[in-house]
Symmetry: C2
DNA sequence: ACACAAGCGGATAGGGCATTCCACTTGGTT
DNA sequence: AACCAAGTGGAATGCCCTATCCGCTTGTGT
């Protein structure tokens, strides 16, 4: 679904296959380990030489952009779909929960959603379109009288950063903790704050799940 | 403020000085760079040999624990002080804002507050006492009818993780974004949700402040 | 003053990582 | 069938990190 022909030359077909294998391998590695995974480990996972990886993706960002284009596209689709709900407020809630769920399911994407990739056209375009659809939703939800007037679009960004933090720190209980955070935030955003709230994770689970301060510095 | 005499032998006095220099240097480095700062860079900053650092603090956690003991103590003191306010709800708000402010001022401490350091007695004791004081506050604020009944102590932990995430991701606008997050969360916690809300950071500031996806993987 | 345990720091081993280089292979075209 | 640009993988380079070793220095008790 993209631009092959505008390149000076097309890739040789075996090179094309390698490219796909790299992206597929990177998708898995990033999903599990986050964006700090090493280039070498990705080349290993893809079964190609390191040079091949660097030839195809000279910078880490280019690889990340290629890998997460479609996740960002799903994000865009979710925002658009939420905008088509009858109730803007329901759409708002649905979208917020969905995008935070995407983060919970994919450590790498959680980070991508909190970062700039200035050079990555498709990625940033999809992000912007999602944001535009969401902005529209904001206006309508306020008009319905369900979303607080002082909600700002930046609050979504802040929530995504916050959620990424919870997911990173609450290893074992990450999903529960994330849902709880989202529930609390939706309450804060709502005019009538009678939003239902997911259960908090059991204290023991949350504590045991906390990143351990034993070895690595928690990078 | 600690245990010198119970050690098999006291440190030689020049060694004691070096220990202090190490802790002081590490305090600065961790504050600026977070807990992933290398042992080598800390030894360099302290002007001691690497061996000296490792002899005194065989594991990274031991160093971290020694460095942040007093910050955790300040956290404990803040919780206790908040508990002595006339209004439990005011104390609750004050403490939440204070502890999140401590995080904002110190990248390392932001991380420490979201991690377990099982072996670090003093550190974990202070944390527990802070938590106990805060728990007491929770009960009284609920009794006052100002804090929602479904607020759970774990929500504080989740907020600390969330705040750490915002601080890490929103580099330039970190302070503003953090205060906004705290404001929103306090609204979610309050029974009458008329908490005032700090301004959201300007969109441009927040976007420009976002961690850039250019070089390193954003660890 | 002396002896020596305690302490010191540089050197070193061992590993991971990003990035470049290069001799070899191969797909596709003629 | 033959050619060669495009593509390949592994080796090499250079950096930074943790952790340990070891010969030298120094504070301290006698």
């Amino acid at each position: 679904m993209e631009a092959d022909r505008k390149r000076p030359r097309r890739l040789r077909c075996d090179a094309e296959q390698n490219r796909d294998r790299i992206i597929e391998a990177a998708r898995g590695v990033y999903e599990r380990e986050g964006l700090s995974a090493s280039m070498a480990s990705i080349a290993r996972a893809a079964g190609v030489g390191i040079a091949t990886l660097f030839r195809r993706f000279p910078t880490r960002s280019e690889l990340i952009a290629a890998v997460f284009e479609d996740a960002m596209e799903r994000n865009r689709a979710a925002a658009v779909a939420a905008g088509e709900r009858g109730s803007a407020w329901d759409g708002f809630r649905e979208y917020v929960a969905t995008v935070c769920g995407l983060q919970a399911d994919n450590r790498g994407f959680a980070e991508v959603l909190t970062m700039n990739f200035a050079g990555a056209r498709n990625l940033e375009k999809a992000r912007q379109e999602a944001f535009a659809a969401f902005s529209d939703l904001i206006g309508r939800a306020k008009a319905e009288g369900r979303l607080r007037e002082d909600f700002a679009p930046e609050d979504l960004l802040i929530l995504l950063m916050a959620n990424a933090g919870v997911l990173a720190a609450a290893t074992d209980a990450a999903g529960e903790a994330s849902r709880r955070l989202v529930g609390q935030m939706l309450r804060a955003f709502a005019v009538d704050a009678e939003e239902p709230l997911p259960e908090a994770p059991a204290p023991k689970r949350l504590l045991r799940g906390m990143v351990r301060g034993r070895r690595g510095g928690g990078c």
